[in-house]
């Protein structure tokens, strides 16, 4: 069952689309589930399918096509690092290595305490502020340096959250 909160968010999203095009809300619905649970299971996909009146396979196709959906647990905080060309030129390989050594995990792995997971991304569309990463797909952290990464990890480890734009630059 989808939680009441997720259902309310889907209802809000459905208002954007024609009444006979409920499937248009599937990307948002999967995002809401992921934001709530941390990842999307096969059962979650079935729930979304029932809610929107779609074949489960059609939901599965969407969940597996778009990279930002997580189909396995990826930690309480998922860090996603861009390594594409503009970021690479600005040292994203070193950024990624630094995070790996700080957390003691590799790509697509989760720390033993379940706090952090690490992923790699293609272009995030903010290349002038490279190197970049996102936290939980919601917070863009720009012009990363070891000091900045330390600050972010310390804050998240202590149970804090990043505010909107907190680690962005103007």
């Amino acid at each position: 069952m989808l939680s009441e909160q997720v259902q309310a968010k889907i209802e809000h999203e459905l208002k954007k689309y024609p009444a006979d095009q409920k499937q248009s809300a599937v990307m948002a619905a999967l995002r809401f589930v992921q934001d709530e649970k941390g990842w999307i299971s096969s059962d979650d996909m079935a729930d979304v399918a029932i809610y929107l009146g779609m074949p489960k396979m059609a939901v599965y196709e969407v969940a597996t096509f778009y990279h930002m959906y997580k189909l396995q647990p990826m930690g309480q905080h998922t860090l996603t690092v861009c390594t594409n060309l503009s970021c690479q030129l600005m040292g994203s390989n070193e950024t990624l290595d630094y995070i790996k050594s700080k957390l003691g995990i590799g790509l697509n792995e989760v720390t033993a305490d379940g706090k952090f997971g690490l992923r790699e991304a293609e272009c995030m569309g903010a290349c002038i502020d490279a190197p970049l990463m996102t936290v939980n797909n919601r917070r863009l952290c720009a012009r990363l340096t070891p000091e900045k990464i330390d600050r972010i990890l310390t804050k998240l480890s202590a149970g804090g959250e990043l505010a909107s734009g907190e680690e962005n630059v103007r």
Binding site: K16, Q23, L85, A126, I128
Partner: protein, 421 residues
């Protein structure tokens, strides 16, 4: 850095608010056409005069595109804004959503009036969630103030705009893949024809424009198409947003007249980083062929000049590389990107992008073979132009550009199993 057309609110502490947009003439253009009941033909003529060309990369004349929408069609029609910016190097539309969302809203409202459309969608790149939230808030603000919704500014014109968040798929920047994605499907491009103007979103007539294109419209209607044209040069009207990333001291987004010399743009971006020399530039997003620095230093930033130099203006995303860059390594990363992002629908792209990547990867690893370079070029010939969408071309062009100008680096890598630089 401020600019006359789009970055005209940047001097304010909170450039994105309705209040500040109104201070720079915001919504005057919409108010004027609604009060004067300007005929749609006159608006299209004004946009044609401006020589505004699509800012997403293809450079198609905007006025002409708008004229393709069937006038007398009974039933729903749509306009769609493409803010799915995922072409490496490109991040200008991200700034529009963050710093001047109302220019986009007004531009789309004018487009909707012109094409008799009641509903618009703005498809936003998944990773810039904070910009999506700001755009959602700006739409709420516009709705509350009567710039969106029913009876806009006391007229009988009705238009509403909704934002749709993507979730990590470069191919959705292709307009028909984007439509599939709004429909709640995998983002796989559609075969054309039929073109979106006759069969678009939900099978209805649809016009899709880039964010910067829509955001340029208020200026054209408020100030005139001629004035916009004169900001730039013939056949490349207006200003353009340039995203300068890579090895410069001051990377950023710059609004500059079309035809600005690259040397000037580089200077504004602080020059090549401390003490290094300019080696190469990708002038219009990662898909466009790379050009050597010395050619770029003699080239102006507009459609025709860059084409003459052997590449394309594309999205206006300029990736600067200094003399420390190994071109094999740079191409390896780009080829991996296209391999990763191919939607898998067309065999030449699905198989070819992986093949390109594996060859460049083995050259980078010191396992390249002398015949590999000709094989790469032959693969490019068998991908480009043989797929439903342009992702195949986008994968081939960087390979062709690199081998045209830097073949010796690849040969060196194959022979010596290490970088030339």
């Amino acid at each position: 850095m401020s600019g006359p057309v789009i970055f005209n609110t940047l001097q304010f502490d909170q450039p994105w608010t309705l209040e500040n947009y109104l201070k720079v003439g915001g919504y005057q253009a919409l108010r004027k056409i609604l009060a004067e009941k300007t005929p749609p033909e006159a608006i299209i003529a004004e946009v044609k005069t401006s020589a505004l060309r699509g800012r997403g990369g293809a450079g198609f004349p905007t006025g002409l595109k708008w004229s393709f929408m069937p006038r007398n069609y009974q039933g729903d029609k749509y306009i769609v804004c493409n803010t799915d910016e995922g072409e490496p190097g490109t991040c200008k539309d991200w700034y529009i959503l963050r710093f001047n969302p109302h220019a986009l809203i007004e531009g789309m409202a004018i487009a909707a009036y012109t094409m008799s459309v009641k509903t618009g969608y703005n498809y936003v790149h998944g990773e810039i969630f904070e910009a999506y939230e700001r755009m959602e808030a700006a739409c709420e603000e516009a709705r509350a103030a009567g710039y969106l919704g029913k009876g806009i500014l006391g007229s009988d014109f009705e238009f509403d705009l909704h934002n749709h968040l993507g979730y990590g798929a470069y191919v959705c920047g292709e307009e028909t893949a984007l439509l599939e994605s709004i429909e709640g499907k995998k983002g796989q491009p559609r075969f054309k024809p039929p073109f979106p103007a006759s069969f678009g979103l939900y099978g209805k007539p649809t016009t899709i424009n880039n964010t910067e294109t829509f955001a340029s419209i208020p200026y054209i209607i408020r100030e005139s198409g001629q004035k916009f044209l004169e900001l730039g040069k013939p056949n490349s009207g207006g200003t353009k947003l340039f995203s300068v990333s890579g090895h410069v001291n001051n990377p950023g987004n710059f609004e500059l007249p079309m035809g600005t010399p690259f040397a000037k743009l580089l200077e504004l971006a602080g020059g090549v980083r401390h003490g290094h020399k300019l080696k190469a530039v990708i002038p219009g997003g990662s898909s466009m062929p790379v050009l050597p620095g010395e050619i770029m230093m003699e080239t102006d930033m507009d459609y025709d000049s860059i084409q003459k130099a052997g590449s394309y203006l594309g999205s206006g995303a300029v990736i600067v590389m200094d003399d420390t860059v190994c071109m094999v390594k740079a191409l390896e990363r780009l080829s991996y990107f296209y391999f990763e992002e191919s939607c898998g629908q067309c065999t030449p792209c699905r198989e070819g992008t992986g093949w390109l990547y594996r060859i460049v990867h083995r050259i980078e690893q010191g396992e390249g073979r002398p015949e590999d370079l000709d094989l790469l070029l032959s693969l490019c010939d068998n991908i480009a132009g043989r797929t439903i969408c342009a992702l195949g071309d986008a994968a081939a062009w960087p390979v062709q550009g690199m081998l045209k100008h830097y073949r010796h680096e690849f040969e060196y890598h194959i022979e010596h199993k290490r970088c030339l630089v």
